[in-house]
Amino acid sequence: MMKKIIVFLLLATSIQSKAQELFVMTEPASNMPAGAIGVRAMNSFMYEKDGTLNYHIMPEIMWGISAKWMVHLQSFHSSRTTGGLKTEGGSIYAKYRFYSSDEMHKHFRMALYGRYSKNRADIHQDEIETMGHNTGYEGGIVATKLVNKVAVSSSLSFEKALNNMPDYKFPTTQSNNATNYTLSIGKLMYPKKYTSLNQTNINLMCEFLGQRLNANGKSNLDIVPSLQFIIRSQARIDLAYRKQLYSTMTRTAPNGFMVKFEYTFFNVTK
């Protein structure tokens, strides 16, 4: 596995072209344009231990309040339990870009972000995930560097799980808070040279997502390679595969495929 990662990274950094920072699994320090509204749907097909696939869909609406502030509203639906697709919860997310150093074809930016989520799923794993599994909150910092068309982004956050609705208490035997860290690398593979806004752009990305449970030191690390298509400079289709590299905590379905759709409506609000 390590060999594959190294080959992938070498491949991603050796090919000369332009890069993207619109990552699949993480948010960059940059925001949406002010006044823009984005709609997004993350579809996940995750393998359960018995080999069956469960389906999660997380529709999201995003709004660029100003150049520095943006908010997301998201809901979580899953077919994990019997009886078809069920709504399990929702979340509100906000990001504030507090630092920007921009030059020709490059930038370094930093942002603070926070999320608050509600969830009514049963608590069935050690892993804390306020995006779809746990009621709780997350707060963190993200830094994104774009140099000569290669984007690298890294984040560090604190995440705390509370009791799930309606009365799924968070197990006292588990750590209810965690430290998360991510590293994302993105590169534009096509086109080599832009000719119009209608050209489809293809980005190759690789993200690493890690979590450490603060109370007991249990941890995990996942790798998510992805391919992204940007259509008419306005729509996005992401294809990704999430693979657990290692884990010392219980997780029910860490591996699977993801398909994400996104569309941006520019200048909806002033």
Partner: protein
Amino acid sequence: MLLNFYKMNKIILVTAMLVSTFISNAQIAKVEIMATGLTCSMCSNAINKQLKTLAEVEKVDIDLNKNLFLITLKKDNQLTPKTFKDKVEKAGFFVGSMVLFMHFNNQTVEDNKQIDKYIFIDTKAQTLNGLTKVKLLDKGYVTTKEYKKLSQRFVKYTSYNNDNEQDFHLKAM
């Protein structure tokens, strides 16, 4: 009474003529912006869409590889450079350079001469006529690195380091 009426009319006429020369002097025909901090076409599109919200904009031509935006404006617009800077920043990016294409009518300029809200600096005495390119030198209209250099070079122009967003420092190109 009649004479007074004529006098008044003359004054109005002269004032109107003065105002119209002054307007034609400050009239921007085109703006060329190099935006910083981006490489992707979706980012360029964000700037493009912001610029097109201005009713005074006739068209926007984009060089996606160089992040250059050439904005053609409708006649008799009253826009100032700040409008364009604000639009680029609302899209989430910054202005790396801004060149204005302005109409001049035998306008004499010299170093540190102010015409309306525009102050010519680093400029030799000359007469500007017809469509002329001028480059903005203020903070926010050049890259951060360039501004650091310019703020030292232009210490002698007291207005330059004032950070006043109402006046603009230009260099005739």
